[in-house]
């Protein structure tokens, strides 16, 4: 697997188009990750996320099974005359993950639940809209992804304070046409960015979460978890 970071040029028209439509961004990311990029295999899949750590800095992170080539994306939305993307082999790092380690992390995810539509029927997928539900969605599933969020003592009312911060809560709405039927429609995805500190509990499960993604809407910039030293 490979982890890449592409710097996007905020003043270019292509950047605006890609940021406005996760559908367009997904297409250009897949096109950059090799001809077989659409699939999901044992090792992992293509995942991406856009970060804006400072006002005029736009970073695109991509995880991909094959070494990517972002020349096309850079020509439309980057600085074509400068080397503005990095790609690194992810596997040596993944192999070093061990239980008990702590890392700073960042994840943009699509927190949803399924509301029952009656017995025997498929439930309706509904986004979590309140901050409390969005936090609960994440914290209650952590173990399932191979890590836990450490608590920093108790507050006065007995609620534990977690090393977790929610930001960038927002709704992405964009058009999409079905490649098979050609039907056009609207997609809306609720996105929440989770940041904080985590402790590894199950390295194998976490490796899978890092390379295969977390939650739904993985094609639309959700589910890519990245780790940084504390």
């Amino acid at each position: 697997m490979y982890l890449s970071r592409v710097l996007l040029n905020p003043s270019r028209r292509g950047t605006g188009r890609f940021l406005a439509s996760p559908q367009a961004m997904h297409a250009v990311v897949l096109a950059s990750c090799g001809p077989d990029a659409g699939g999901v295999d044992q090792a992992g899949r293509v995942l991406w996320r856009v970060d804006r750590p400072e006002k005029h800095r736009i970073e695109l992170y991509v995880v991909s099974p094959e070494p990517p080539d972002f020349t096309g994306l850079i020509e439309q939305a980057g600085w074509p005359t400068r080397a503005t993307w990095d790609a690194a082999d992810y596997d040596p790092f993944l192999q070093r993950i061990e239980a008990g380690q702590s890392w700073r992390f960042r994840l943009t995810a699509n927190p949803v639940r399924s509301v029952s539509a009656g017995e025997g029927k498929r439930g309706k997928v509904t986004p979590h809209l309140t901050r409390r539900h969005q936090e609960e969605w994440f914290v209650s599933r952590c173990q399932h992804w191979g890590f836990e969020i450490p608590t920093r003592g108790d507050e006065a009312d007995g609620e534990p304070v977690r090393a977790l911060e929610l930001s960038g809560i927002g709704l992405a709405e964009f058009g999409r046409s079905d490649p098979d039927s050609g039907r056009r429609g609207r997609v809306s995805v609720t996105r929440v960015t989770y940041r904080g500190e985590l402790t590894v509990t199950d390295p194998d499960v976490l490796r899978r979460a890092l390379t295969s993604g977390i939650g739904r809407a993985k094609a639309y910039g959700c589910g890519l978890l990245t780790l940084a030293p504390t």
């Binding site: 970071r5 992810y90 790092f93 990245t226 030293p229």
Partner: protein, 235 residues
Amino acid sequence: MSVLLLRLAAPLQAWGDSSRFTRRETRPEPTKSGVLGLLAAAQGRRRTDPVEDLAALRFGVRVDQPGRIIRDFQTAIRISDGAVMPLSYRYYLSDAVFVAGVEGDAELLRGLDEAVRAPAFPLYLGRRSCPPAGRLSLGVVDTDLESALRDADWQVSRAYRKEQGQTVHLDLLADASGGLPTDDQDSFTVRDVPLSFSSERREYGWRDVVRLAPVAKDNPDGHQREDFFAALGGA
């Protein structure tokens, strides 16, 4: 045991270990044969002279600044008679900085240190067109290879430090010592032990390389953003 530390920095470096025909490759880190060749050149050995004593040294390298791989499509013409040389792809590492160490007998290493400071032949980093930039030798330290590489200062410019996070993890690779590497270590094998540099018959043996736990360095000049590349090695 003593260790001679070398700072390998240059606009271009090239460390081939498996190049054939018109595609001349580079590894992402210096090779043992390349560095031993540099030491032999510093001492003034001819290509046909034996290098067994150098090949017996234990070799390791730390990636301070990984650089980028660039490709040169070379269309060379021989000046003397205008003959067209084969069209070739040559790969280089640009803007990389490494700390390489060789471990062995203190007396031998001190001799090599002096030779590097006053070399008999011009020195280059893997390919003749890649002269080293800045000082090459960091001196001889009296400790083992791994701790020498771990303790050496981070050899990068202030401008580069500013682009990195507050902590960086530098990749560390070394010869597997004492037989085969254990299963839980990340290891690979390269054909990279010089047996003969003779231009008539170059010969290389195999060596096992292990990737050790990366070296964590504090970087007070670094930015405050989370750096998701910092833990991947080589900052």
